[in-house]
């Protein structure tokens, strides 16, 4: 797949001297859902704001579908729909008016059929004549998505789209995002919910303190994460792992009262059954057991933890 967004050596320093981004290099592939993860203040929003033309970069360049965001801003920006993190909406406009306004702003001719479809897809159709101020937070969020989709963008930025949205609605939004991807839209999603990135993204990038510290296919990442750990509490203290169990690469805890076995849930055989019978044969008696899976969250936390 070719890249639709190409960010190279992008830096941003604010007047206060704060460096929000430090030499970011990033390529987003056409048609993918890219999950951008990072703690608060990592630079996610600054990165998106620069790509979308809201903030001036200090250094480096960004091109969208081959168009430089500064020199060829019209072509570049025409391709992008942005849903910012904060609920920035007009208060007294109707849903229909504000979504139509967005389409006009992007230079597209009127197309009531398209606006109608967007509003219906986002379950906003019955609210089309309501003033935005009367809507709930979740509806306002969807209005912002509708505004971003009003001009038929090829790229959609969703900055924390499901923050403060209830579970039901969140699932609904994921559906919308999947449908968009199926229609060929490239989606960049920032989120705090690891679950969301796991569920949605094709690739995952982690940003921390203005630097990209990891970019990986979700499948590869999940394979790494696919490992599970089985911890067996022993009735009697062991000094060493019996010879007969060497094949399992067991790890004995410091106090000799527990062993840990790593296995791959995606493998054909986990080896748990034979381990348990071999333990029994070796005369090791078990008092309790516990399994644990490392999640994206663990990886994420270990990556961004302050040393």
């Amino acid at each position: 797949m070719s890249s639709i967004i190409s960010v190279s050596n992008l830096s941003k320093s604010y007047g206060s001297g704060f460096k929000a981004l430090k030499g970011i290099d990033l390529d987003i592939k056409r048609g993918e859902i890219f999950g951008l993860l990072g703690p608060n203040g990592a630079g996610k929003t600054t990165l998106i704001s620069i790509i979308c033309g809201i903030v001036n970069p200090s250094q480096g360049s960004v091109s969208i579908g081959g168009h430089d965001i500064i020199r060829d801003y019209r072509a570049a920006r025409s391709m992008i729909g942005l849903v910012p993190q904060e609920l920035h909406t007009d208060a007294f406009e109707s849903v229909w008016a504000t979504v139509s306004f967005s389409r006009g702003l992007f230079g597209k001719p009127k197309n009531p059929a398209h606006i109608e479809k967007v509003l219906k897809d986002l379950s906003l159709w019955d609210k089309k004549d309501s003033k935005i101020i009367t809507l709930s937070g979740g509806m306002k969020r969807r209005v912002m998505i509708a505004k971003a989709l009003s001009h038929e963008p090829q790229i959609l930025f969703l900055d924390e789209p499901t923050a403060g949205v209830d579970v039901e609605l969140r699932k609904g939004m994921w559906e919308v995002v999947r449908t968009l991807q199926a229609s060929g839209v490239t989606i960049i999603l920032t989120t705090h919910y690891i679950e969301e990135a796991e569920e949605m993204a094709d690739r995952i990038g982690v940003i921390n303190k203005g630097e990209i510290i990891l970019i990986e296919d979700k499948a590869t990442l999940m394979q790494k994460l696919g490992k599970k750990h089985l911890t067996l509490q022993l009735q009697n203290k062991l000094d060493a792992i019996p010879e007969t169990l060497a094949v399992y690469n067991l790890e004995l805890s410091a106090d000799g009262r527990a062993v840990t076995y790593d296995y791959d849930t995606k493998g054909d055989r986990t080896g748990i059954t034979s381990l348990l019978s071999d333990l029994r044969n070796a005369g090791v008696r078990i008092s309790d057991l516990d399994t644990k899976q490392s999640s994206l969250e663990d990886i994420f936390v270990s990556l961004v933890r302050v040393p």
């Binding site: 604010y14 007047g15 979308c52 033309g53 809201i54 903030v55 001036n56 801003y73 019209r74 072509a75 570049a76 920006r77 025409s78 992008i80 942005l82 910012p84 904060e86 920035h88 909406t89 007009d90 208060a91 007294f92 406009e93 008016a97 306004f101 967005s102 389409r103 006009g104 702003l105 992007f106 230079g107 597209k108 001719p109 505004k147």
Partner: protein, 253 residues
């Protein structure tokens, strides 16, 4: 040119005008009528004439200018300040539109509104005093130039302001005094020599003088100077707006 974007911004801003009709149109008309009652009827009955024109009629151009100036600034500054305040500016900045188009949309709408208002006030004045406009084309030219210039000025204030207080500060502390001291209610020639010289540093004098000339062919300064000063101020405002967008001042940093 992204004409659809200009149209979208312009219509959005005009929709705001119609939505706030009472505040946008009715209140300036009411306050202008009050000026007529106070200055025209009460005080004017003792002044009778200024340079051959009855006092009530004499103050009409000044009153129209007073409203056009303050309303242009108020409309344009609020028009751009509010999206900044509410955060909806993100959409304007991320849209494929040039700075020129943004300015045409916002300033065009603000100027349109104050021109309409100026004409309404003029019509209202016609109910109180006899009016004759000697040079209607020049009258409209001065009206449009002033509305556009001060809408640009208001746009600058709206971008500069980072709070509602600052938004009010310049109109309250600078523009209103300059307008009152700029010959809205008197001819500069009525002042003692020293004050007259000082007054000539007030740009509003030139606007009102030129505008009044288009009505009665009487002026404090020559029409060419009035026109020159008005255009000069327009150019200064345009230069500042251009600088704001080039540097991203208060918008993109």
């Amino acid at each position: 040119m992204n004409y659809r974007a200009i149209q979208a911004i312009y219509l959005f801003e005009m929709a705001r005008t119609w939505r706030t009709l009472l505040q946008s149109i009715v209140s300036p008309v009411v306050s202008t009528s009050l000026y007529f009652v106070v200055f025209g009827a009460a005080i004017g009955s003792r002044i009778t004439e200024v340079e051959g024109v009855s006092y009530g009629t004499f103050i009409v151009p000044g009153l129209v200018m007073l409203s056009v100036l303050t309303q242009s600034i108020a409309n344009a500054s609020f028009g751009i300040y509010f999206p900044k305040f509410a955060g909806t500016i993100y959409e304007i900045l991320s849209a494929p539109i040039s700075y020129l188009e943004i300015v045409i949309g916002y300033v065009g709408a603000a100027a349109t509104k104050s021109i309409i208002l100026g004409l309404i006030i003029l019509a209202t004045a016609g109910l109180f005093v006899p009016l004759h406009i000697n040079h209607p084309i020049w009258m409209l030219t001065f009206l449009v130039l002033t509305a556009v210039t001060f809408s640009l000025f208001g746009f600058i204030i709206g971008i500069w302001a980072d709070g509602f207080e600052k938004l009010q500060m310049i109109p309250m502390l600078v523009v209103t005094p300059l307008t009152f001291l700029g010959g809205s209610f008197y001819s500069v020639n009525m002042l003692p020599q020293g004050w007259r010289t000082i007054t000539l540093f007030n740009p509003v004098v030139y606007l009102i003088s030129g505008f009044r000339w288009s009505f009665f062919e009487i002026a404090d300064v020559s029409v060419a100077v009035s026109l020159g000063m008005t255009i000069g101020f327009l150019v200064i405002c345009m230069a500042i707006v251009a600088w704001i967008f080039r540097t991203g001042y208060r918008l993109k940093n």
